[in-house]
Subunit: 204 residues, 4 copies
C-alpha cells in the first residue's frame, strides 16, 4: 500500500481522508461504511482500496497525521520562551487553537482513545506529546518555578484539564480558543485555592 502517487493521486487521497474524517466525526467510525464514503465522493469502491489497505488503515493514517500536525503546532508555539512555565502555557494555547480548528479530528481522537482497538495504537503519539509536556514540567521544578512533585502526575493533570475544557467548551459550546486556553492556564497555574485574577475568565 506504499504507492507512488501522482499529483492527482495525492489530491484524491487528501480528499478521501478529509471526507472520511468528517463522516467519522459526524456519525462515528463503525457506523460509517466504506460504501458511504465512496458514494459521498462519487467514486467507485476500487478507488478507496487503491489508496488505503483497509478502513482501519484509513483511520490510522488520519489519526497519525493529526497527531503529528498537532505536535508540530505545539512545538512551534512553545519553542521560543526561556521560561518553562511560559512554554507550558504556550503549549496549552497551541493545543486549544489547533483543536478549535480541527473539531472533526478532536472527535476522532476522543473515539480512538476510548476504543479498545485503536486506543493502544495511539500510544506512541501520545507518549511523545506526554514527554514534551513532562520535559517542561521537570525543567520548571528544577528551576524552582514550580514546587517539586511527580512531573508525570502533574503533566497528566495539565493534560486532563486542557483536554476536558476543550471537549466541553470547544467541541461542545464552540467558545473562542483563546478564552478556553486562558481558563485552562489559570486553573493549571493556581488550582482552586490560588488567587484568581489577571485577565479573568471570559467563558460564558
Amino acid at each position: 500500500m506504499d504507492r507512488r502517487l501522482t499529483q492527482r493521486g495525492k489530491e484524491r487521497k487528501r480528499q478521501l481522508m478529509d471526507f472520511a474524517a468528517t463522516r467519522f466525526a459526524e456519525s462515528g467510525y463503525h457506523p460509517t461504511s466504506v460504501a458511504e464514503i465512496v458514494e459521498g465522493m462519487g467514486v467507485g469502491k476500487g478507488v478507496f482500496y487503491w489508496y488505503f489497505a483497509s478502513k482501519e488503515e484509513l483511520l490510522l493514517e488520519i489519526l497519525r497525521e493529526a497527531q503529528l500536525d498537532m505536535r508540530r503546532r505545539q512545538q512551534s508555539e512553545m519553542g521560543d520562551s526561556t521560561d518553562p512555565v511560559d512554554r507550558l502555557e504556550s503549549g496549552i494555547r497551541a493545543t486549544m487553537y489547533w483543536l478549535a480548528e480541527h473539531r472533526d479530528l478532536m472527535s476522532l481522537f476522543e473515539f480512538a482513545q476510548a476504543d479498545e482497538h485503536f486506543g493502544p495504537l495511539l500510544r506512541p503519539g501520545r507518549d511523545n506529546s506526554m514527554s514534551d509536556v513532562m520535559r517542561h514540567v521537570q525543567e520548571a521544578m528544577v528551576a524552582g518555578r514550580v514546587p517539586n512533585g511527580d512531573p508525570f502526575v502533574v503533566s497528566h493533570a495539565i493534560i486532563g484539564v486542557t483536554n476536558h475544557l476543550a471537549r466541553v467548551f470547544i467541541l461542545g459550546r464552540e467558545e473562542p480558543a483563546e478564552d478556553v486556553a486562558q481558563a485552562a492556564i489559570m486553573f493549571c497555574r493556581s488550582g482552586l485555592l490560588g488567587q484568581r485574577g489577571g485577565t479573568g475568565c471570559r467563558l460564558r
Copy 2:
C-alpha cells in the same frame, strides 16, 4: 419491555448485564456481538431479547445504572462535611474509589462519552453530576474559601483532572485509588504554582 420478573428473572438479568459489561469493556461495544454474549453465558438468543429490547438498550441500562450508583457513592461521601472544599475532595476520592472498583464501567463510560450516538444519551446523568460539583464550588466561592471565578469552568477543570488521572493511573496502571485521589486533590487545590506538600504523592 417492562416485564414483571421473578426472582430468577432478576438474577438472570443481573448476570447478563455484568457479563455484557465485562465483554464490552474488553472488546468494545460494536465488536461484541449478542451471539458472543449469549454463547458466553450458555443460553439461547431468546433469553437476551427476553430481558432487553435491543443490544443498545442493554448498554444504556448498564450505563444508567452505573451513573446512578456512582453518584450515590459521591453524595454519601460528600454529604457530611460543612466545608465545601472538603466536600469536593470527598467527591474526588469517592469517584476514584468507585472507578477503581468498576474498571469495566469506567471503560464503558469512556466509550459512550466519545460515541456520537451514546454520548448525548449520557447527558442527563452527567449534568446531574456536574451540578453536584458546581454547587460546592459556588458555595466555596461565596464562603471565600476559593477565589471568585466561573464555577462552571472551575468545576469542569476539576472533573477533567479527576477523570484523566483516573484514566491513566487507575484504568491504565492500576494504582491504588487513594493515591490517585490524593494526586488529583493536590493539583486541584493549588495547581502548578502552589506549594506541593502535605501527604505528598505516592504515585509511581
Copy 3:
C-alpha cells in the same frame, strides 16, 4: 387438542379467536405474532397452546367456523322461496349482510384464499357454497327462468360479482349491505345490456 373444555374454557377460547381474528384482519396473519395475541389479551403463552395446537390451527378454526356460519345464513335466507332466481338473490343478499357484519372475517377470507398454504384448505367449504349456488342456477335453467348455459360458469360469475362488490363497497367504503346487494343482484340479473331499473342503485 380435542380438549373437553369447561364453560370458562369455552369462553376463553372464544375470546382468543375473536381477538386473533381482529388482529389478523388489522395487521395480517404473518405479521401478527402469537406473543402479540397473548399480550393483547393479558395472558401467558401457555394459554394459547392450551387451546390451539398452533397458530395455523387457530386460523383454520376461525376460518372454518366462519364458513359454516356464513353458509348457515345463506341457506336460512334462501330456503323459503319457490323461485330459484329469488333464492339466488336471497343468497346474494344474505352474503352481503353477513360480510358487512363480519368485516374482519371477510379480510381473513381474502387473505386465506390468496394464500398458497391456506387457500387449498378452504376448498371444501368453498365447494359447498359453490354447489349451493349451482343447484339454484341449474334449477333455474331447467325451469326456463334462465337461458341454458354452463351452470358452473354462471355460478362463478355470480360469485365473482358478489365478492368483488363486497370487497369494494363493504370492506372498502362501508356502504349499506342492502344497497350493495341490490347492485350485485341487478348486474347479475341483466348484465350490461339489460334494462337497468326497478329500485335503482343507491351506491355513492
Copy 4:
C-alpha cells in the same frame, strides 16, 4: 438504490425479478426467504441487495411493472374500436390473455391485493385500470348502448366477473384464455336473464 446498471446488471435484475416472482407465486411471499432466492440463483446474498433495497421493494417492483404491462396490453387491445361495448369486451379479452400468460403474476396480485400492507400500495395502479374501464362504461351509457346506472358500480361488477373467472378457470383449471374471455363477456353482456347464445360457452 437508483443504480446505473450495465447491460449485465440489467439482465441480472431481470433474472432476479423473474425468479423471485415464480418463487413468490409458488410458495408465497412471506414463506419465501431472500436466502432461498439467492441460493436458487446460485449467487451471494449481496447480489440481491445490490439490485433491490429490500425484499419488499423487490415485490413492489415486480408488481408495478406487471400492472404497467397489463394495462399497456389492455389499452393496445381496446384502443381501435369505435363502439365502447366492443372496447370493454376487448379489455376483458386482453386481460384474460395477459393473465393466462402471466399466471405467476396473477398469483402475486391475488396475494398483494389481500395483504394489509401491500394492498394499499397497489391502489394507484388499480385506480388507473378502474378509470380506464369506467371511461368506456360511461361512454356506452351516454351513447345509449347500455342503460343508465352508476358507471363505477357497473365497472366493478365487470372487473369482479373477469377477475373471478380468471382466478377459477385460468389459474385453477388452465382453460384457454379465449374461452374464459367469452364466458366473462357473455355474462357481463346480459347477466342471468338475458339470452345465452351466440358462440356459446366452451368451458369444461
